[in-house]
C-alpha cells in the first residue's frame, strides 16, 4: 500500500495513522494468545513472568507443567483428552452425515419451504448456548441419556450440524448440476452418482464443515456442563473448573497444546478453502 509521490501531507499522516490503528487491532487480536506460550514453561508456580524469565535465565524455564499434565497423579487430563476426542470424532461423523445429506436436499431447487426449514436447521447456532443447554438437558434427562457419552455426542451433533449445512450449501451453490445429469444419462444410479461425482467435488466443503463441527464439539463447555457426569469429563470442563478454582500453570500447558491443535486445524481449513476456490475459479 505504498502511497503515490503526489499525496498531500495531511493524507499521508492520515494514512500512517490508519495503519497504526490497524496494527494495534491486529496486536489486540493475536497477542493474548502468545502470552500463554512462555508462561507454560515457567519453572515456578506463578502465572506471571518471574525475574528469571525476564532476563532469559535458562533455569527459570522448565517442562514441569507439561510433565504434570501427562504424568500428574491427580490430573484428569488423560481421561478428559480421551473423552474429548471420542466425543468430538463421533459428533463430527454424525454432523457431517446428517448435515451433508440435508444440504443436498436444501440446495435442490425443488425443496419446499426452504426458508423456514433452513431457519430451523441453523437455529442451534443462533440460539444462545445456555438455552440450548437447558433444553437439551431436559431432553436427555427424560431419555435417560444424561451423564452418558451418547447423550453428549447427540448434543454435539445438534450443535455441529448448522456449520456443516452452511459450508456444504455454500459449496453446492457453485456446483454444476449438469455433471450429475450426465452421470444419470450414462446409467449411474443416484447413490453411485453421489459417491463418484458429487462427493469428490464438494469434499472440500464437507471437510471444512466437519472441521467446524469437530472444533465446536471439542471446544464446547456450556451444554457439557449440564450433561456430563464425572466419567464424561472433557478438556473444556477441566479447563473450566481449573480456571474457576486452582489456576495452575498446568492449564497453560494444556492451553498451549490446544493452540497448536487449532493452528493445525486453521492451516487445513485454509488449504481446503483455497483449493475449493481454485476449483470454482474464484481465485484471481
Amino acid at each position: 500500500m505504498a502511497l503515490p509521490k503526489y499525496t498531500e501531507p495531511h493524507y499521508r499522516i492520515w494514512h500512517y495513522f490508519y495503519l497504526t490503528i490497524c496494527g494495534a487491532v491486529f496486536f489486540f487480536l493475536i497477542a493474548p494468545l502468545f502470552v500463554i506460550f512462555p508462561l507454560s514453561f515457567n519453572a515456578e508456580e506463578f502465572l506471571s513472568f518471574s525475574d528469571g524469565m525476564k532476563s532469559l535465565d535458562p533455569d527459570a524455564f522448565s517442562l514441569r507443567w507439561y510433565k504434570d499434565m501427562i504424568y500428574g497423579t491427580k490430573n484428569p487430563w488423560g481421561l478428559a483428552a480421551k473423552n474429548s476426542f471420542i466425543i468430538a470424532i463421533f459428533a463430527t461423523i454424525g454432523s457431517v452425515i446428517l448435515g451433508t445429506v440435508a444440504a443436498l436436499g436444501l440446495s435442490s431447487r425443488h425443496m419446499p419451504y426452504k426458508g423456514l426449514i433452513m431457519a430451523v436447521l441453523i437455529s442451534p447456532m443462533i440460539v444462545p448456548l445456555i438455552i440450548s443447554g437447558v433444553a437439551i438437558f431436559f431432553f436427555m434427562a427424560k431419555a435417560g441419556l444424561a451423564a452418558t457419552h451418547t447423550g453428549i455426542v447427540l448434543a454435539h451433533i445438534i450443535l455441529g450440524t448448522p456449520f456443516v449445512v452452511i459450508t456444504v450449501t455454500a459449496t453446492l451453490s457453485g456446483f454444476d448440476h449438469s455433471v450429475t445429469r450426465a452421470a444419470a444419462s450414462l446409467g449411474s444410479d443416484p447413490v453411485n452418482t453421489f459417491m463418484k461425482i458429487t462427493l469428490p467435488l464438494i469434499l472440500p466443503g464437507v471437510i471444512s464443515g466437519g472441521l467446524f463441527a469437530f472444533v465446536t464439539s471439542f471446544d464446547e463447555v456450556v451444554v457439557v456442563l449440564f450433561l456430563a457426569g464425572l466419567e464424561n469429563t472433557t478438556i473444556p470442563i477441566q479447563m473450566w473448573t481449573g480456571l474457576r478454582e486452582q489456576l495452575s500453570p498446568t492449564i497453560l500447558a494444556v492451553a498451549t497444546c490446544l493452540i497448536i491443535l487449532s493452528t493445525l486445524i486453521l492451516v487445513t481449513a485454509e488449504l481446503l478453502r483455497r483449493r475449493s476456490e481454485r476449483l470454482r475459479g474464484i481465485n484471481q
Binding site: F28, P32, P124, I136, F138, S262
Partner: protein, 417 residues
C-alpha cells in the same frame, strides 16, 4: 378460427401438464426426504425440548393436584368474606390425604411462594388435625391459628387454583401479583433481574460498537492489500477464531490480573503507581475487554467478505469526479459496506447477548449477564421453571434479532471463514 386448443400429450397419452406436475411433486418429495433425517432429529431433540421449557415455565399443576376438592368447592366463593363450611370441609379432606402421603411439606413450600406465613400455620394444622372431630371444620380450623381465620390467606390459596401461571415471567421482570391480584414491581433495592437485563443489553451493545470500530479498519486493510500480505494478516483473525474459547479467556485472565502484564505495563509507563494497580478483572471491564477480543473475528469476517467485492475503481471514480478521499469514502465506499455492517453487528450482538463462559470467569459480580443467572437457577437453586422462563425471555429477544438478520442478510448468506 378453431376454438379448440389442442392438449399436448406425452407418449403415454397423459396430458403434459399433469405429467410435469407429477415429476415436480416427485422431485419435491425427493428433496424433502434428504432433509428429513436432520429435520426430524432436530425437532425431537431440540425444538420439542424448547417447547418443553415453555410448558415447564408456566406449569403450576402441583398445587392444583394437591387440593382438588378445595378448588372445586371454592368455585362458588366470591372471595369477599371467609369461605363457607363446605370449603373448609373440602380443604380438611384434601389436607388429611396429603398428610397421609407425607406431602403437606411440599404444599406449605408452594403456598409460601404465594404468601409468606403458610409454613408455620400448616405445621400447626397438621398437629391439630389429628384431634379434629367430625363436622364443623370451619370452627376447628380457624381455632388452630388466627391466620386461618384471615380471608387473605384463603385468597392466596385460591390464586393457586389455575393449572398454569405466568408468575415466573413476572419474577423475571421483578414483578409479582399482590394480594389484590394486581401486578406490581418489587421494592427498588430488590430488583436484581431488571439490573441484569439492562446490563446484558448494555454490554452486548457496547461490545458490538467496540467490535465494529475495531473491525472496520482492519477489514478494509485486509480487503485492499495485495493477496500475499492479506493472507498472512488474515491468520491473525482466523487463529483466534479457531482457538478454544477457554484458552482465550485464560489468556485474558493472565493479562488482566493485578500482577499481570497489562498492569505491569501501566506501572512501567507511569500511568498508575505500583501499589495502586487497578482491578481490571472480575468486573465489567474484564467482560468488555475479553468479549470484544473474542467476538472481533465474527465482525471482521462478514465485513471483509463484503468489502472484498467492492471494486477499487469506484473510489478512484469518486476521486476523479472531484471528491476528496474522505468524501469519496463516505459517499461511495461506506454505503456499499452497510450489508456487511448489518451482518456483523447483528451476529456479534446475538452472540454477546447470550454469553456465559467468559463473563462467568472474568466478569465477577458486576460483569455477569442474564445467562449466568439462568445457569445459577439450573444448577444451584434448582428452580428449573424459573430458569426456563428466563431462558425463553432471552430467546424471544434473540429470535427477533434473528428474524431481522434473516430479513436484512438472509441466513443463506452466513459465511464462515
Amino acid at each position: 378460427m378453431s376454438s379448440e386448443t389442442k392438449q399436448i400429450l406425452t407418449t403415454d397419452g397423459i396430458p403434459l401438464e399433469v405429467s410435469l406436475k407429477k415429476a415436480e411433486r416427485k422431485n419435491k418429495i425427493k428433496a424433502f426426504l434428504l432433509v428429513a433425517p436432520l429435520l426430524f432429529f432436530l425437532i425431537i431433540t431440540y425444538v420439542f425440548p424448547i417447547g418443553d421449557m415453555l410448558f415447564r415455565s408456566v406449569d403450576d399443576k402441583m398445587v392444583t393436584q394437591m387440593l382438588p376438592k378445595t378448588f372445586k368447592a371454592m368455585e362458588s366463593w366470591d372471595g369477599q368474606e371467609l369461605p363457607e363450611e363446605e370449603v373448609f370441609a373440602a380443604f380438611h379432606e384434601d389436607f388429611i390425604k396429603l398428610v397421609e402421603d407425607k406431602r403437606e411439606g411440599k404444599l406449605s413450600t408452594q403456598l409460601n411462594y404465594t404468601k409468606n406465613g403458610f409454613k408455620s400455620i400448616i405445621k400447626k394444622l397438621r398437629r391439630a388435625s389429628k384431634k379434629f372431630e367430625e363436622g364443623n371444620y370451619k370452627e376447628q380450623i380457624m381455632s388452630v391459628h388466627k391466620r386461618w381465620a384471615d380471608v387473605e390467606y384463603w385468597r392466596a390459596i385460591q390464586r393457586r387454583a389455575p393449572e398454569f401461571t405466568g408468575q415466573k415471567y413476572l419474577k423475571g421482570m421483578d414483578m409479582y401479583v399482590n394480594e389484590e391480584g394486581k401486578i406490581v414491581s418489587v421494592e427498588e433495592d430488590r430488583r436484581i433481574h431488571r439490573v441484569l437485563w439492562l446490563r446484558t443489553l448494555e454490554i452486548a451493545f457496547f461490545v458490538t460498537v467496540f467490535c465494529f470500530l475495531m473491525a472496520y479498519p482492519i477489514a478494509h486493510l485486509l480487503a485492499t492489500l495485495p493477496m500475499k500480505y492479506s493472507n498472512l494478516l488474515m491468520i491473525c483473525v482466523l487463529l483466534p477464531f479457531w482457538t478454544s474459547l477457554l484458552v482465550r479467556t485464560a489468556s485474558w485472565m493472565i493479562l488482566l490480573q493485578q500482577q499481570g502484564i497489562v498492569n505491569d505495563f501501566f506501572v512501567g509507563i507511569g500511568l498508575v503507581t505500583d501499589d495502586n494497580r487497578p482491578e481490571m478483572m472480575y468486573n465489567k471491564t474484564g467482560s468488555y475487554v475479553a468479549m470484544t477480543q473474542i467476538l472481533l473475528p465474527f465482525m471482521v469476517l462478514p465485513l471483509y467478505s463484503v468489502m472484498k467485492t467492492i471494486s477499487p475503481s469506484l473510489m478512484r471514480a469518486g476521486k476523479s469526479l472531484g471528491g476528496t478521499p474522505f468524501v469519496a469514502f463516505w459517499k461511495v465506499y461506506f454505503p456499499l459496506t452497510i450489508p456487511g455492517i448489518g451482518a456483523g453487528c447483528l451476529l456479534v450482538f446475538i452472540l454477546a447477548i447470550g454469553y456465559y463462559i467468559t463473563p462467568a470467569l472474568v466478569g465477577g459480580a458486576s460483569g455477569t449477564l442474564i445467562s449466568n443467572q439462568i445457569a445459577f437457577h439450573m444448577k444451584s437453586t434448582l428452580d428449573w421453571s424459573f430458569a426456563s422462563a428466563m431462558g425463553l425471555m432471552l430467546l424471544s429477544g434473540v429470535l427477533v434479532i434473528y428474524w431481522l438478520y434473516n430479513k436484512i442478510v438472509g441466513i443463506d448468506n452466513i459465511k464462515l471463514g
